[in-house]
């Protein structure tokens, strides 16, 4: 109980908790769940974009997208490492992903149908991710906070690149404009869902905020996202697919329509439009790669044996 009080005092004082420090089991569990979910999202998030790398419409766009996917693999690595400091192995986390036990961001269960979706993902999805992640740079768990510092810097770069793709399309031919608007229509609501259920249905929020694992509520972040994004859409001549969007002078932000939470919960349950495909691709990659990982282990063991013998 003393330890708990000391822990809570440190957190309240915005000190970092480090791997060797004592921490409540629930804190550890919550962090493992959140960090591994975040790591999985980086890895699964490579798939919708990977779908367009081979079809990127210019050498420059191809290079930018490859760099982005490379960043995401890197983020996945930092985050898996951060989670490992909490005593879970990468294999365990990956098995949990493949068995459906661990989650990843619902947004990656939607398909990338046209090139504009790559713009929309950068602009909206990375934009929402940043909104979620910026506060996490000051999250109470040190390794996680430090990973987020690197992640956030790169994500905001991705967000600008995504917006730039959309800007280009929206200023392009009729077909390009249509693609851009269609992508915004399809990605808008799923992006709003990325902040999680409304605060009144988010039972863990209070505890997570007390532990400084979270620093703003879902609804606060969602509002912030809408307030930033609606004018960005306007600026390039696109329209957010929500007739209820309207500036509210009193609250100093936009009013907006109700998210279809039944859709959200269905996707959380694994019923997203391409959820099965995403998991099938990940599982296949993992299973097809088993012989390679085994070979690498076998080789490393042989080398270790040789060094020992020498």
């Amino acid at each position: 109980a003393d330890k708990l009080a000391a822990f809570e005092a440190r957190v309240a004082a915005d000190e970092f908790i480090e791997p060797k420090d004592w921490m409540p089991e629930a804190y550890r569990r919550t962090l493992v769940r959140q960090i591994s979910q975040h790591a999985h999202s980086e890895i699964v998030g490579m798939l919708p974009e990977g779908n367009w790398i081979t079809r990127a419409p210019s050498l420059r766009r191809k290079a930018i997208l490859l760099a982005k996917v490379q960043d995401e693999a890197g983020h996945g690595l930092y985050l898996y490492s951060a989670a490992e400091t909490l005593g879970t192995s990468r294999e365990e986390m990956i098995e949990a992903l493949h068995s459906g036990k661990a989650k990843y961001s619902t947004i990656f269960n939607y398909p990338t149908l046209t090139w504009a979706d790559i713009g929309a993902i950068g602009w909206l999805v990375d934009g929402a991710a940043i909104m979620n992640q910026v506060p996490l740079q000051r999250t109470s768990y040190g390794p996680y906070a430090r990973a987020m510092v690197r992640v956030c810097k790169e994500e905001s770069f991705h967000q600008r690149q995504g917006y730039e793709i959309m800007m280009h399309l929206a200023a392009g031919t009729d077909a390009q404009k249509r693609m851009a608007q269609d992508a915004l229509n399809r990605w808008w609501w799923p992006s709003l869902m990325m902040f999680g259920p409304p605060d009144e249905n988010s039972p863990n929020t209070a505890q997570s905020m007390r532990w400084r694992i979270k620093r703003e509520t879902n609804d606060e972040l969602r509002q912030k996202f809408v307030d930033i994004t609606v004018p960005q859409a306007d600026a390039i001549g696109l329209t957010v697919p929500d007739p209820a969007v309207k500036w509210n002078e009193a609250k100093g932000g936009y009013d907006f329509g109700e998210v279809d939470w039944s859709e959200f919960y269905a996707v959380v349950k694994g019923e997203g439009p391409v959820a099965k495909e995403r998991m099938a691709v990940r599982r296949k990659a993992w299973e097809d790669g088993a012989w390679i990982r085994e070979a690498a282990d076998a080789y490393a063991a042989k080398q270790a044996g040789k060094r020992k013998a020498a």
Partner: protein
């Protein structure tokens, strides 16, 4: 007349350099999200990115030499198979990871020696791109070499797969050392490299790595040639169909 002929050879030579990089970069990028570990995902994306960068430099330069207003994008996305000048090795499908690594090792070992030589090119742009790229390619070569050894000397299964990878691709190696008219002219003008000058080095290094990997050097097979003249395998057309879709479907658009 002479000038045009000179330009044609240089144009062709730049296409070869650019297309090798572009096609291999495209093949590597097909691995996105399908790799055995996140680390491999990262390193293959990184190699692909380097290669697309090289391709951009060489193809932009080719467009300038041609002088018809085509840039790298135009050349990358609006040429069909008969006008592609890459070697056949790089267009071969990924196969399993062992075959991908065999392809990478055979190519990057060659490309590293080529770029080493090209740093002395009389063409300033080629020399500059080669000087920058040689660092990247050294890393590609090392990475592929490590995987070749690891898989060759790993498990029984990985050993067989690695050996199969080399057996399958071996017939495309001689094309790397083909000195046809364009290559000879470029070498004589001090712009291109005489690849035969490092043929023995190449054979020696490849042999040494294959042996360190506890594998067997494949028997020589009848060389398959044609890529440098636009006569490719059946695979390139499918690769281009995918890669070029958007610019061809929306010819009026910029991206």
């Amino acid at each position: 007349m002479a000038t045009i002929a000179q330009d044609q050879a240089l144009f062709d030579y730049l296409l070869r350099l650019g297309d090798d990089a572009l096609v291999l970069g495209q093949r590597l990028s097909e691995w996105t999200g399908a790799c055995p570990t996140v680390e491999v995902d990262l390193s293959l994306a990184n190699m692909a990115l380097d290669l697309i960068g090289q391709a951009t430099h060489f193809l932009d330069a080719a467009g300038k030499v041609e002088g018809q207003g085509r840039d790298g994008d135009k050349l990358a996305f609006h040429r069909d198979v008969l006008d592609y000048r890459n070697c056949l090795l790089v267009e071969q499908p990924n196969g399993d990871f062992a075959r991908t690594m065999a392809r990478q090792f055979l190519f990057s070992t060659w490309q590293k020696m080529l770029f080493d030589a090209l740093t002395a090119s009389k063409d300033e742009l080629i020399a500059a791109v080669a000087a920058k790229a040689v660092k990247e390619v050294t890393y590609h070569q090392e990475l592929a070499q490590e995987w070749v050894i690891r898989l060759g000397d790993g498990t029984d299964d990985s050993h067989v797969r690695m050996q199969d990878g080399f057996e399958w691709l071996w017939r495309f190696v001689p094309e790397l050392f083909e000195m046809d008219g364009v290559a000879v002219e470029m070498a004589e003008r001090g712009i291109g490299a005489d690849v035969m000058a490092f043929r023995e080095d190449y054979d020696r290094q490849v042999r040494a790595v294959i042996e360190e990997a506890t594998l067997t050097v494949p028997h020589d097979q009848r060389p398959i040639l044609g890529g440098r003249q636009g006569h490719h395998s059946e695979h390139l057309g499918h690769l281009l169909a995918q890669m070029q879709f958007l610019p061809r479907a929306y010819p009026d658009a910029t991206w």
